[in-house]
Amino acid sequence: MSRIGVFVCHCGENISRTVDVEQVAKAAGEIPGVAYSCDYKYMCSDPGQTLLKKAVAEHKLDGVLVAACSPRMHEKTFRKAAEAAGLNPYLCEMANIREHCSWVHEDRGMATAKAKDIVKLMVERVRKGKSLAPITVPVTKRALVIGGGIAGIQAALDIADAGHKVVLVERDPSIGGHMAQLSETFPTLDCSQCIMTPKMVDVANHPNITLFTYSEIEKVEGYIGNFQVTVKHKARSVDEKKCTGCGVCMTKCPKKKIPNEFDQGHGMRPAIYVPFPQAVPNTPVIDRENCTMFQSGKCGVCAKVCGPGAVDYEQKDTFTVEDVGAIVVATGFKLYTIDRKPEGSPIQGYGEFGYGTIPDIIDGMTFERLASASGPTGGKILRPSDGKEPKQVVFIQCVGSRAREKGISYCSKVCCMYTAKHTMLYHHKVHDGQAYVFFMDARTPGKGYDEFWRRAVEEEEAVYIRGMVSRMYQRGDKIVVMGSDIQVGTQVEIEADLVVLATAVQPQDGADLLAQKLGISYDKYNFYSEAHAKLKPVECATAGIYLAGACQGPKDIPDTVSQASAAAAKVMTLFAKDQLERDPVVAKVNEKYCVGCFACKKVCAYGAIEEKEIRDRQGNLVKKVAYVNPGVCGGCGTCQATCPSKSIELDGYTDEQIMAMIEAL
């Protein structure tokens, strides 16, 4: 038999005006299990709290109910007071007779009756409640950043500058990402590489950063504060420790005509290469697919010319396990390839545009490379088919973006601005050329953005045609662009020398697979989902994993950098304490009765539920049951409602508590 104390607060007159608090206290005293009840003017005041503490001691109370305002207001206050009196704070509850009663009802009789009922319900809740101890989780103060684009670089630098160790993993041979490919950046037209490469060098030189390029995430285990991440280091065929980065191997490599991915396939590179001259690390890799040595076993020139003997054809993929406490995911984006319908994707292709079959239809990133001083044309705008300078260039916006009929409904956010930038760069370089832009509307919400766009239209003479393009085809050496101008209300055809498509921003290939390894959720396009669209835009639902950059949704550079720094700040907050303390309202499994159907695991949004093997003393597998990682559990209780046998139970909201409350109705 429990000994519960009920304290009914007048809240000045806020409650007592409509609720007969004395009666409520009296009725409470008659509820089975209540050992003491009283009413008091201000329970939250110091004397009120003292009253509570004294009563706990005097009447040997084992649970406390304060009938007062909303628990959202003072639950913490009273739980602290109860704790000070020697009770477990979770055995202190509040009955909300102010917001839910005295303030919303006028009839004194009805309000008093309701207040009594509320108290009765809550007494049952306290009676069936359990002592709970806060959950503590140790924190490994080392972070993993996945992706070495501007987002990953920024996050890694911020965390490292705060004094924590960081592991930065990049899939490609060099960090830098897409930003390193850009020519100039809007809205200031400063050179992308000029602002990017110093940051790349900072990463390489930072004592707190361990950089793994040409590496991928193989497996992720553990939970917030305690992840074990297996990193796969792909065989570079060049020993990073020995290589001095002299570059002789690259100049001597006999196979030089391999389309360079960094230049969107428009420049050439040898089989042993660094993607671009400012690459970090400046250590080449051998592209085994295209290397004569690997394909036929004959060549070996690079090994012969390498002074330090760094070239190693026998190198294998290696794996390391990194212990980290937090993970920042910054895997970035790719541009939508529109010539075909991607396998298994909800997105349709744009076969009618002839992309992929007509060489002079290129995407925005290719145009960036053409306009870049370090690009394949040395910064001259020359079209791919015949190297001529295009005099009429058509830019088409929203290719794939905002195209519901093609399966993508979102806006790619950066295209309006970079297309405007492209028209300017083009106009600066080809003075007698004409740029046309097909667009739906120009979206320019950013500092200095609209001014920039207006400059493209008003000063740089780009012709903006509001409308979409239906079809393009080659006619002679021209590309016929058939479209509409909805402002004039006519169909338009332009014979263009070059067409630039502002194709949609999409998550990187394999984003879904990485999400599955990390146990984070992603939307139908494979963009990673934040925990809350407004208030937790950086956190993943899975505790300890944070998002930065375009992997979460299309973003421009300033937004990406902001989010990366925000993610870094979140990591630092986590690392500020040695132990992570969590509310003990988490689910627990009754292993005796769990039959391992794992319905709970299927509905858990946090990935908190694991499969656990139960073995007998001989080590034979008896059964598999669910196990809740208390460090990860969010405490929603969806698992319990789903479990048919109720073998999983949410502390603080047990079936026994709820049933008793319903019984008391």
Binding site: N590, V595, A599, K624, K646, D655, E656, A660
Partner: protein
């Protein structure tokens, strides 16, 4: 009764067809036991009384040679593979004779991590139908004595079995009594529906036969056996009975493959499968989900779409 008798009885299937299935099952079962592919085979043996058969767990080739298949082989044998009824067969791969409707349960159990496909050797039966409960159990299976679920069978081909016994594939076109009954109940005024079910549930004696034959009632602790807290009264009174059957229907929603065993075994003739079919229909309409067609990752109530119907929510 009489109205039924005056109907022409379409002969659904010749007895010789069942004999052919029997032969095929025996051959396969003997073989897999002989070559030790499996540790045992769950099949059917004839009962003492004419027109009856019992489930059997055979472990020797000799016993396997006596297995049968007939219209009396009504049981869904997958129940013998679930945890709650475990321990009767040794660990290892098990052979099982399964009709199309039973295979839906197997698929569901695989979905729910209760079975592994590689631990099963499924002898699928191209089932032309079985006897209805309480129907005439002798002679040919006809429209008069075929089970209600078989009248609207859509899964008589055991897709996904290791081997299939039987070749006959054409089913007679019978009136879908179950669907018609469901439509009849749905068309009733609300109070009449309540009266209909109240009468049925009040008769329930809580013998738990429905639960015990159900392949999906494999919980080690049934919610309805729990007493702290007691979510459902365990005493056989109308109130607890109603709660029990509603809870069960809810727990089976999205999982039940429609073998109708619960309804068949009910000694009080409560049309339990109607509840399960109603839920299946709802989930099909709302989420385009049909249980047990294949092992899947998640059932309809273990997943969601952001644009799920919410017209009922204010």
């Amino acid at each position: 009764m009489n109205a039924k008798a005056s109907k022409t009885h379409v002969t659904c299937i010749e007895p010789a067809y069942y004999e052919a299935i029997t032969e095929a099952i025996r051959k396969e079962a003997v073989q897999i036991l002989k070559d030790e592919t499996v540790v045992g085979v769950v099949g059917y043996l004839p009962g003492r009384r004419k027109g009856t058969a019992s489930p059997a767990l055979v472990t020797t080739a000799e016993e396997a040679g006596k297995l049968i298949f007939s219209p009396a082989c009504v049981n869904n044998l997958s129940v013998y593979l679930t945890k709650a009824k475990k321990g009767v067969l040794k660990k290892g791969k098990v052979g099982i004779v399964a009709k199309g409707c039973d295979m839906r349960a197997l698929a569901g159990l695989i979905t729910e991590s209760q079975l592994q496909r590689e631990e099963l050797f499924i002898i699928g039966v191209v089932c032309p139908g079985v006897y209805g409960f309480g129907a005439e159990r002798t002679g040919t299976l006809t429209e008069a004595n075929i089970a209600r679920k078989c009248r609207e069978c859509s899964v008589h081909l055991p897709d996904g079995a290791d081997v299939a016994a039987g070749t006959h594939t054409e089913l007679a076109d019978l009136t879908p009594e179950e669907a018609e009954e469901m439509a009849r109940i749905e068309a009733m005024p609300q109070a009449e529906r309540w009266a209909f079910w109240k009468e049925h549930f009040s008769r329930c004696i809580r013998c738990m036969a429905c639960r015990q034959v159900c392949p999906f009632c494999y919980c080690e602790q049934c919610l309805c056996d729990k007493n702290r807290p007691q979510a459902v009264e365990s005493s056989p009174r109308p109130a607890g009975n109603m709660a029990w059957h509603l809870v069960r229907a809810m727990h089976l929603a999205g999982r039940c493959g429609g073998c109708a065993e619960c309804e068949r075994v009910c000694p009080m003739d409560i049309p339990l499968n109607l509840l399960n079919r109603r839920m299946a229909k709802e989930l099909k309409e709302l989420y385009d989900f049909e249980a047990g067609l294949n092992p899947v990752e998640k059932g309809p109530l273990n997943q969601y779409k952001e644009d799920d119907d919410q017209s009922f929510i204010k």
